[in-house]
Symmetry: C2
Subunit: 428 residues, 2 copies
């Protein structure tokens, strides 16, 4: 029996440096918890010539085979990011009998079910706490602490960039473009912000959570997705006057045997816990049949929080290595039909620019009525502009997404309608 | 090898009925996760003559020996509550080689370290997720998901009764006595509310969390404890005007080699996540060196949430039974010196009733200054009353608890001071 538990890293960078520093700083505590010291064996990097803090030259390798060829490596930490070659590296590590800890949301979203099956077939574990919610425990609580529950819904603020931007728009009354520029200057948004502002990052994460919460496989491109690029300072101001804040919510639920997963800007009731999650914070709310609603909130990114989650997984599986625990039987994930957006139900907010003339409101109300959509409120917050445009904000009672799509198409075609602005769901 | 995992319950009542109902409703899911069905073997009750839903007569027993004499029982769930005879029953179950799952905060606070050692000595596990925070995962995240962190502080709203009462006082401007009566009518407060309103319940829970977060043993009577009975509608109104809400916070931190644990009404900055936890909800916030701050929020009581936590532990240990995992090595808890309240440091709020005459404010300020306590603000919110009493509200910068005690004694002795009202710490 080995006297240490050996870990090797695929990828270095900020996160890798954070993990290595934490393993060194916490060495004696971790050894006491695990029962043996944890030893960093190999680190796979692109540039093997560069000197790295805390690592000897023989630990730095340039080929995956140099890691997998090391008999002292029992756990592989994958922090390369991106789909390829990370996915192939994870698969090779699992097939070589190594436990794998990954922070890779994209790979887990696109191939999680398959890789978990490969892990089970090879008697090893694949852990991925850091792939969703940064430092917030999400995967662990869902797979252990809430395991007795039938989870009915997940609702999450799971992208720090967009939450920072929407919070700034709300607090400063600022416009999207200004806030994006500020977020880029502060390093909260990438030079190319597409993955964040279009909800792609959040779609990966909600797909990962669907696998865990419902044991259902859903591809990220099956998540109904709308980014925040169309949200204006007006929408946020109207929402506020109605008692709501706009958040980019990632959510998933089962509806009559189908799985519905969305990433959408949503009006959230100002007293809801999720409405109060501001700035770069992330939060994930679960609804279970026994527990009701629980919410986890914390930092969704950064080397410290990500290291916290990666090392939680490393310590967990290291304990298995020492105690000889066999992995649990894997319950293969179901493939369910993916609910179409038309099948979703919600209360809706509609902002519509119209010609300021009598009878317009009644005509729009009639179109909604034809689709059995019941109106909760209509408000013209401001006077018509000089060119005779008035902006109406409708809110509806619970309505089907299909009926709403039909009504919106009909409203858009009306001669007195200048623009149908945002159509957003409302929650809480 | 047995074909089921056998669980027996010590105690019935609401929680027991909830656990049994959930085990029945989730039977097939739980069997898939564990690898074997979970079977309810015996239920220890006071009144064996009463018929109980879902149980056959042979399952209902009146003596602990009838449970421990059952070779099919591998896991014992203790939900009797109170210190005796629950503590002795847990110990007997552990010594008989049974894993134990308990919801008992009092026993875990008073004897947790000792019982965990007994469990380790007998190669079994003692789990207690339901003892703190009802359905909110707290023990699990702390012992697994946040294990890589050096935890520096825990701050929690951990008693639903008092949080309901303080929230009602804040939202309705109501007085303590009225709100207590309403809480009793709604069943949120006991006929004898002492354990809740005096912070005894919260002290048990923070003592349990000290053991886990710091691996430090602290007795519940070593927790510096102040209840909410002295909080008035005035205090809440003053706090609000200063930008704070009053919450009964249970907190623990290490200060220079000593452990400081308190349960105290505290002014919490209105933008802090904990300030937004309202009604009967509970929340626990951890600060760790890697993760920063994370917060878990949810229902702190009730049969459903409590069953969720009990069954999470049952499923966890049942997986161990099936996979043959040996328990981890137990790291015995340290005994640290308990910090005296005089060693605590905080910003403070002081409400002082004085004779309305010139120079009084200056004299009080001078007394604070003598103790090196720096004043952040002094406000007389309202005019003096007809009898010439004016109420002053002081807030201080960071000050030592000892200096504050000395200053408050001197202020109380001043001829112009009619009453020193509440002296409360401020956070956030």
């Amino acid at each position: 029996m080995s006297e240490t538990v050996g870990v090797s890293l695929l990828g270095a960078g900020n996160i890798g440096a954070g993990v290595i520093a934490a393993l060194s700083a916490g060495a004696s505590r971790y050894a006491a918890r695990v029962g043996r010291p944890i030893e960093v064996r190999r680190v796979l990097v692109r540039d093997t010539a560069r000197v790295r803090a805390g690592l000897a030259p023989h630990q730095i390798v340039g080929r995956l085979e140099d890691v997998l060829g090391d008999p002292g490596t029992q756990i592989v930490i994958e922090i390369m990011g991106g789909e390829h070659p990370a996915r192939e590296a994870i698969e090779a590590a699992l097939r070589s009998g190594r436990h794998v800890v990954t922070a890779n949301k994209e790979v887990m979203a696109k191939a999680g079910g398959e890789l978990l099956q490969i892990a089970a077939d090879h008697g090893v574990r694949l852990l991925y706490e850091a792939s969703v919610g940064g430092g917030i425990p999400v995967i662990g609580p869902l797979s252990r602490d809430l395991l007795a529950n039938e989870v009915s819904a997940i609702t999450a603020i799971i992208n720090g960039t967009t939450n920072y931007m929407l919070t700034a728009m709300t607090q400063q009354g600022a416009d999207y473009a200004d806030v994006l520029a500020e977020a880029q200057r502060l390093g909260y948004a990438e030079p190319d912000p597409t993955a964040d502002v279009e909800g792609i990052d959040a779609a990966y994460k909600i797909a990962v959570l669907c696998g865990l919460a419902f044991n259902v496989e859903i591809r990220p491109d099956e998540v109904a997705r709308q980014g925040i690029t169309s949200i204006t300072a007006r929408d946020i101001a109207y929402a506020e006057r109605l008692g709501y804040v706009i958040k980019l919510l990632a959510s998933a639920r089962l509806i009559s045997g189908a799985v519905a997963a969305t990433v959408q800007p949503t009006l959230v009731g100002a007293n809801e816990p999720l409405a109060k999650v501001d700035g770069v914070l992330n939060a994930v709310q679960f609804e279970g049949d026994l527990v009701g609603r629980v919410l986890f909130e914390g930092p969704g990114a950064g080397p410290g929080p990500t290291s916290s989650s990666i090392l939680a997984d490393v310590l967990d599986v290291a304990q298995d290595v020492v105690t000889g625990r066999r992995p649990l039987a894997f319950v293969p994930r179901r493939r369910l039909r993916v609910a179409l957006p038309a099948e979703h139900e919600a209360r809706y907010y509609l902002r519509i620019a119209v010609q300021d003339q009598p009878g317009v409101l009644a005509r729009i109300a009639a179109v909604l009525g034809e689709q059995q959509i019941s109106i909760a409120s209509v408000i013209q917050f401001d006077r018509a502009t000089a060119d005779g445009t008035a902006e109406l904000v409708f809110t509806t009672h619970q309505a089907s997404g299909g009926a709403l799509q039909t009504a919106v198409a009909a409203i858009r075609a009306m001669d007195v309608v200048r623009e149908v602005g945002n159509v957003l769901p409302m929650a809480g």
